[in-house]
Subunit: 220 residues, 2 copies
Amino acid sequence: MATSTVENYLKHILLLSAEGEELVPMGALAEALAVVPGTVTTMVKALADSGQVEHRPRQGVRLTAAGRRVALNVLRKHRLVECFLVNVLKMDWAAVDTEAEQLEHAISDEVLDRLDALLGHPETDPHGDPIPSRHGQLDSQVYATLATCVVEKALRIVRITDQSAEFLQFAVQNGLLPGETVRVTERNLASGLVTAKKITGRPLALGLAAAGKILVQPTR
Amino acid sequence: MATSTVENYLKHILLLSAEGEELVPMGALAEALAVVPGTVTTMVKALADSGQVEHRPRQGVRLTAAGRRVALNVLRKHRLVECFLVNVLKMDWAAVDTEAEQLEHAISDEVLDRLDALLGHPETDPHGDPIPSRHGQLDSQVYATLATCVVEKALRIVRITDQSAEFLQFAVQNGLLPGETVRVTERNLASGLVTAKKITGRPLALGLAAAGKILVQPTR
DNA sequence: AGATTTATTTTGACTATTCAAAATAACCGA
DNA sequence: TCGGTTATTTTGAATAGTCAAAATAAATCT
Ligand SMILES: [Mn+2]
Ligand SMILES: [Mn+2]
Ligand SMILES: [Mn+2]
Ligand SMILES: [Mn+2]
């Protein structure tokens, strides 16, 4: 029923509202969807009429329960498709987001379930992003990032939160992949510079913004 | 570039022009696409403007070389996706056409190539329909059907030319699948009745129209 | 408070795709 | 050759989604 435009709006509202409550500003949504703000206002009013979102004029949007259900299903498709593309078709880690952006609207729930089984019910996609369960549960654990973690401690990378091919390529080239172990050796808030080191490797310098996109966890 | 609407128009024109030359009547196209004839006239004129088809007013449409290239690529996607759904995901033979109808517009050429390799470069889809090659070659062999074949001779089913779930379910239930061997024991043009028999099985009666949808080949 | 900047909404217009219904052309039998 | 099907095209209108630019409200800064 929902067009792929509607699915994209709902998915991005979900993604931009980190956990549940918050109102997503219209401008942020416009930027995420690459449309002008006026377009978002128009569409959001339509989505509100169909009961998928709540629109607080001048403040932002938030998903209704119905809208959230749709959004989670689309997100589940997106991430499972990425798993399939990487694990089965051996596609480039950095390229699959673009592919999944289309496929998430084209696969049925039936295909979704079979893909899920084929892949062995994965819990995260290739970038470490959690896959919503078939019943709409989404892991919302908060992780430290290379910009906020303790210094001089070995940490496991769990997730890369930037889907752009450019950033992902940078990550691959420097071995910053989910599962790898790193240690921040230096962090200078003033200069905005973070230095990280993999167990076996030369020190790597990156800016605070980039460091903040790499989520880590204590190694157990 | 081409929207999925455009891709569907081109694909159906290809399908309706059996081999190359013939003009496809506007009405036939309208029926295949499940839109009213006026819509087809409008769209076909637009497709002609963009150089994908040639429109002979009051006579029909035909693909240009450019349009044919697009159509073959979509058809290749459709049929390879069907192979994937049946062979890898073990989906119902009768249901995959509907799924592929969407997926054919969502997968990239890159994914297409990898699927093709994963499947071992199949030559036909699960219904026996030939898969266009990566370079646009489409097998156009003409086969006999249960409505036209010689009587009392063992023949191998090579293809079922009706994508509807209804007909395909009927075919499965009676074991009329590509690869199976059948023999027409009786054919009465006047009554429009054909009786076929599998090696191991009771005689099966079907109408001429249905019989014409089952393509066969001499067993070698 | 008053002026300025910034975010959001409105307005008017455009593209793509579709339908209903009326107009027209082509074909066909008598 | 005329009148009646039948197929196709036209016309007018609708829906979904989008943009540019102007209007407005809210927030921020003297
Ligand atoms: Mn998408
Ligand atoms: Mn991802
Ligand atoms: Mn299609
Ligand atoms: Mn098929």
